[in-house]
């Protein structure tokens, strides 16, 4: 019965919990290191990183280089520091 149950079990994707941790990106937007759990989708990390790097780059082009960016949402704080064209990004869920 166990094997039948395995076959009939519906796939139940997990709701993605917001993790706490950090990751680094190079200036091309490639993921270099991450302390976030592997269950957190890498595409989401890259998406966050892409937006962070775009913001740093846009500011640089506007002659106002930035060293740090803090984005506040009601349930999440994103802190990013510029690292030679790349960035280190901290995700901090707000409790």
């Amino acid at each position: 019965m166990g094997i039948l149950k395995w076959f009939t079990r519906r796939s139940q994707p997990q709701l993605v919990r917001l993790p706490a941790g950090s990751f680094t990106l190079d200036k091309e937007g490639r993921l270099m290191t991450s302390t976030l759990p592997q269950s957190f989708p890498q595409e989401t990390l890259l998406e966050i990183g892409r937006r962070v790097l775009a913001t740093f780059n846009h500011a640089h082009q506007a002659q106002m280089p930035l060293a740090e960016l803090v984005v506040h949402y009601p349930t999440l704080k994103v802190l990013a520091r510029e690292l030679r064209g790349g960035a280190i990004v901290f995700l901090m869920p707000v409790r």
């Binding site: 846009h58 949402y73 349930t75």
Partner: protein, 363 residues
């Protein structure tokens, strides 16, 4: 919408849907019409094609989860009441759901008593008027609430939120004794809070230690406020005045406000951009606002979209630090605000000052 209220129930469990459709449509006093959807796509299609009063959503579903549905529903149908009904006990999801504007978050009931409570909550949401007003008590206006509290000689503190701005009104034995906003206190704060047309509030326990700063009776206060609001409403709109050629000309009504903001400690420059239009910009303390305006607009767009994607609620604020300046970005009503601070200002100081900026702007 008239007649029977309409509920859309979304869950991937067909048995659950059948059970709850039967229960809601026959046991609720308002005898609602209940439609069901077993996938997010089906629910969104139904929302697109038919009007509903209440959407009840499970969180854990295949392909598109409940948080994603809620984000879309909140954006596309702001008047729709939203309820989460889930087995998910993780507090983070409850917090995120409320941050996204959900009206109620319920765990799936496990006893008759819990079912009865859930039914009461659903009925209450359905009977609540669909018009604006203050959430917290059956869409009463603030004036109604204050009158009720004062007439019943009660003592309490009303905490009122309008967007990111928080105000408080202290009521002691049926009299309004004080009011407070981040940048105002006393009668001025009271009047400004009452000018808010929508928001949310909660009633906190009384604070007898609060010193009294308002000595006008509550009837006098409400009368003064009503007069002030009437006078403000009867003035021609300062935003746009029709010119002789029939075109609409923008009047620089924001100039005094920008000057007022510049008086706040640490504020070096202010840029106000109309949300959605490229050409409407007001600024103070900037020689060439164009590059900053372009960056601010793009940055807010980037992170508002990211907030939607991550389902973490609406973007509150962005603070950026460079060697020459700290910049804070926020959206207030239909305006994107970008405020510059000296680099020595701490991030906390920037956030606190931005609260004052937003209060002034919202008022």
């Amino acid at each position: 919408m008239s007649g029977r209220p309409r509920i859309l129930l979304l869950d991937d469990d067909q048995d659950f849907l059948e059970l709850y459709r039967e229960m809601l449509s026959t046991h609720l006093p308002s005898l609602p019409e209940v439609r069901t959807a077993n996938s997010a796509a089906r629910a969104l299609a139904l929302l697109e094609s038919e009007p509903f009063d209440l959407l009840i959503v499970d969180l854990q579903m295949p392909r598109m989860d409940g948080l994603q549905v809620l984000a879309i529903a909140r954006r596309k149908y702001p008047q729709l009441r939203l309820m989460v009904l889930t087995a998910q006990r993780d507090e983070q999801f409850r917090t995120r759901a409320y941050a996204m504007g959900v009206d109620q978050y319920w765990l799936k009931p496990e006893s008759d008593q819990e079912i009865a409570l859930l039914m009461e909550a659903i009925e209450s949401l359905l009977t609540r008027a669909q018009e604006g007003g203050f959430r917290g008590v059956q869409s009463k206006s603030l004036v109604d609430i204050i009158q009720l509290e004062c007439l019943s000689q009660s003592s309490c503190v009303l905490k009122i939120n309008n967007g990111t701005v928080e105000g408080k009104i202290w009521i002691q034995k049926g009299e309004v004794i004080d009011a407070e906003l981040p940048d105002l206190t006393g009668e001025a704060a009271f009047q400004r809070i009452l000018s808010w047309k929508a928001g949310s509030f909660e009633i906190l326990p009384a604070d007898p230690s609060r010193p009294r700063s308002i000595f006008t009776s509550y009837q006098g206060l409400l009368l003064n406020t009503a007069q002030a609001l009437d006078e403000a409403a009867s003035l021609p709109s300062p935003e746009a005045v029709a010119t002789a050629e029939g075109k609409v000309k923008e009047v620089s009504s924001t100039a005094p406000l920008l000057a007022e903001l510049s008086q706040l400690e640490g504020v070096e420059c202010v840029l106000a951009i109309d949300d959605g239009k490229a050409e409407f910009e007001h600024y103070w303390g900037l020689e060439n606002p164009k590059p900053l305006a372009a960056w601010a607009r793009a940055t807010l767009q980037q992170f508002r979209q990211l907030g939607d994607q991550l389902q973490v609620g609406n973007l509150t604020q962005v603070v950026a630090a460079g060697p020459d300046r700290k910049l804070a970005l926020a959206v207030c009503g239909g305006t994107q605000l970008c405020v510059g601070f000296p680099p020595s200002f701490s991030t906390d100081e920037v956030r606190e000052t931005m609260k004052q900026v937003l209060t002034k702007w919202a008022s």
